[in-house]
């Protein structure tokens, strides 16, 4: 459903993203990598906010033509100061076939239906995140592009959102960027980006720790929790710190 071939995005005279070949079908796809590695650029390319060269297709369409069937959520939404949470969800329906009842249903699904009359800017970081996710889901998209959907969320909401996204990913590609390496094993595929290039793409089980150590530039500990691999920064979890 997502195909990219020789795709390249340039800004300020330099290449900030370069992808040889990437094919993603339905599933939960984690995009990881350090700050400035091109994660957000990849989502912006697929949602047609940024233009690039090469061949990119979303559900068989060029990204600009696919905007009505995709939902993009930025990591830092720039919402108008007077807009309420309900405004955010309703305004986001533009270009889709979804209705007001889809918007209210999405708000209930994310547990923000009691926040709808509140001004968006008065909400906590986690509440804002949930409202933005509700906005993304309300469009009834066929693909989700979510930039750091798990940041600011408490444990219960992280579990709720991850569960929801895993459920949705059975029928559509769900791309999420994250710095939470301990959730890597829950993804169907992982794409590791470093300086705008794909350093690894495949199932999380085949991801070697050395790839992550190289891209983040620090030693990592690898542990197993319920049989799933978890990566942690070795320095912080070393005996002298604990």
């Amino acid at each position: 459903m997502i195909e990219a071939e020789n795709a390249k995005v340039e800004a300020g005279g330099r290449t900030i993203l370069e992808i040889g070949r990437l094919n993603l079908g339905p599933g939960l796809h984690g995009i990881i990598g350090p700050n400035g590695s091109g994660k957000t650029t990849l989502l912006r390319l697929l949602s047609s906010i940024m233009k690039g060269s090469g061949r990119v297709r979303v559900c068989g369409l060029p990204p600009a033509a696919a905007r009505r069937i995709t939902s993009y959520m930025p990591s830092h939404p720039q919402v108008d100061l007077l807009a309420t949470a309900l405004d955010v969800i309703l305004a986001g329906l533009y270009g889709s076939t979804a209705s007001r009842s889809n918007a209210l249903q999405a708000a209930r699904l994310l547990g923000v239906d009691d926040l709808l009359d509140r001004r968006f800017h008065t909400l906590s970081g986690g509440e804002k995140r949930l409202v933005c996710l509700a906005r993304a889901l309300a469009r009834r998209p066929r693909m989700l592009l979510l930039d750091e959907p798990l940041s600011f969320l408490d444990l219960a909401n992280t579990a709720r959102v991850l569960g929801l996204l895993r459920g949705l990913s059975r029928s559509m590609p769900v791309l999420i960027t994250s710095h939470e390496l301990h959730y890597v094993s829950l993804m169907d595929t992982v794409t590791v980006l470093g300086e705008g290039r794909v350093l690894y793409h495949g199932p999380p089980s085949s991801l070697r720790r050395e790839v992550l150590e190289e891209v983040y530039g620090l030693p990592l500990l690898e542990a197993r929790v319920s049989g799933l691999r978890v990566f942690l920064p070795a320095d912080i979890f070393s005996p002298e710190h604990t």
């Binding site: 949602s47 930025p74 720039q78 919402v79 007077l82 305004a91 533009y94 008065t122």
Partner: protein
């Protein structure tokens, strides 16, 4: 339900104020029924006709400023934006002062065309400078503020240096509907009607702008094009209003703000509500000016600012902003 009751209340208030506007003035009171009867029969005399023209101008002024201000707030994603932010009021005022420097008692139509023209010129300069700086909301605001101050400087220079420029009616400089002309009112009404229809048509796209440029773009809005079109419509409306009635302050900022605090930010609903409230503020302010001033004219901005600012402050506090 709450919104419907509020709307009915505001419509009734507008009708009452309009009736009062036609019935009350420094030349005495006329029974509203008698005034209506006389006007419908094509009579009524010059005083009734003057009041009808003046009250209609106040209605168009208030409603137009509100729609212009609301659209500017969405286009620039800034609740502090008002119709004059991109330089049209100082541009238009400069044009009128310039005209007075060279002409003795110019015809109202000439004042109007000159004000409109210079409002548009100022706006085009702002757009040019804004595009040079990147055309984002902040670039446009910086360009607008700079150009406004530059024209303000020119106005001061003209008034202080030119004896003929000093003949300009200072009441006009701070806004008034005391000197209406049928032609300028009709021209302004046509411009406000046309711009409002276009704003309404772009309503869902303008609503999406509250989400920020990136998200709006991702939903299918061409943000840069829409922003340019919206500020152009808003500034065209504001230019025509300044040309008709001078730069009346505060309604264009406060009416949209109050409506959005009360009913949310759905653009089309906010447009209708703002125009209703703006019309009420326009006629109400003009009535207050007539009552306070007695026989002499007081600029409208004195009333809109003095009454409007505490109301806005109260509303903001009450709605927890």
């Amino acid at each position: 339900m709450r919104v419907s009751i509020l709307t009915i209340f505001l419509v009734i208030l507008l009708a009452l104020l309009f009736t009062a506007g036609v019935s009350v003035g420094s030349a005495g009171r006329t029974s509203p029924l008698r005034a209506l009867h006389a006007l419908l029969k094509g009579g009524g005399g010059p005083i009734l006709h003057y009041r009808l023209l003046r009250t209609s101008a106040a209605l168009v002024l208030g409603a137009g400023l509100a729609s212009s201000g609301l659209t500017m707030q969405y286009a620039l994603r800034n609740p502090m934006a008002d119709p004059y932010l991109l330089g049209v009021s100082t541009g238009a005022a400069f044009g009128v002062v310039l005209l007075f420097s060279f002409t003795r008692n110019p015809r109202p139509e000439l004042v109007y065309v000159n004000g409109l023209l210079w409002g548009v010129i100022a706006f085009l300069i702002v757009i040019g400078l804004g595009a040079f700086m990147g055309a984002g909301p902040t670039s446009l605001i910086v360009a607008g503020v700079s150009v406004s101050y530059a024209f303000f400087g020119l106005i001061i220079l003209l008034i202080s240096r030119s004896a003929s420029a000093q003949r300009i009616n200072y009441t006009w400089l701070f806004g008034t509907v005391a000197y209406p002309s049928r032609t300028t009112l009709l021209a302004t009404s046509a411009i406000i009607a046309a711009t409002t229809i276009l704003m309404f048509a772009a309503g869902n796209r303008l609503y999406a702008l509250v989400l920020g440029d990136e998200v709006a773009e991702s939903t299918g809005v061409s943000v840069a094009r829409l922003r340019l079109a919206a500020v152009a419509l808003s500034s065209a409306a504001a230019s025509s209003l300044v040309a008709m009635a001078g730069p009346v302050g505060f309604i264009g900022l406060a009416a949209p703000w109050a409506v959005r605090l009360a009913i949310g930010s759905n653009y089309r609903a906010a447009l209708a509500g703002s125009m209703l409230l703006g019309g009420i503020a326009g006629i109400g302010s003009d009535l207050a000016v007539r009552i306070i001033g007695g026989g002499s004219e007081i600029p409208l901005t004195a009333v809109t600012a003095l009454f409007g600012s505490p109301i806005l402050f109260y509303l903001s506090r009450r709605t927890g902003w």
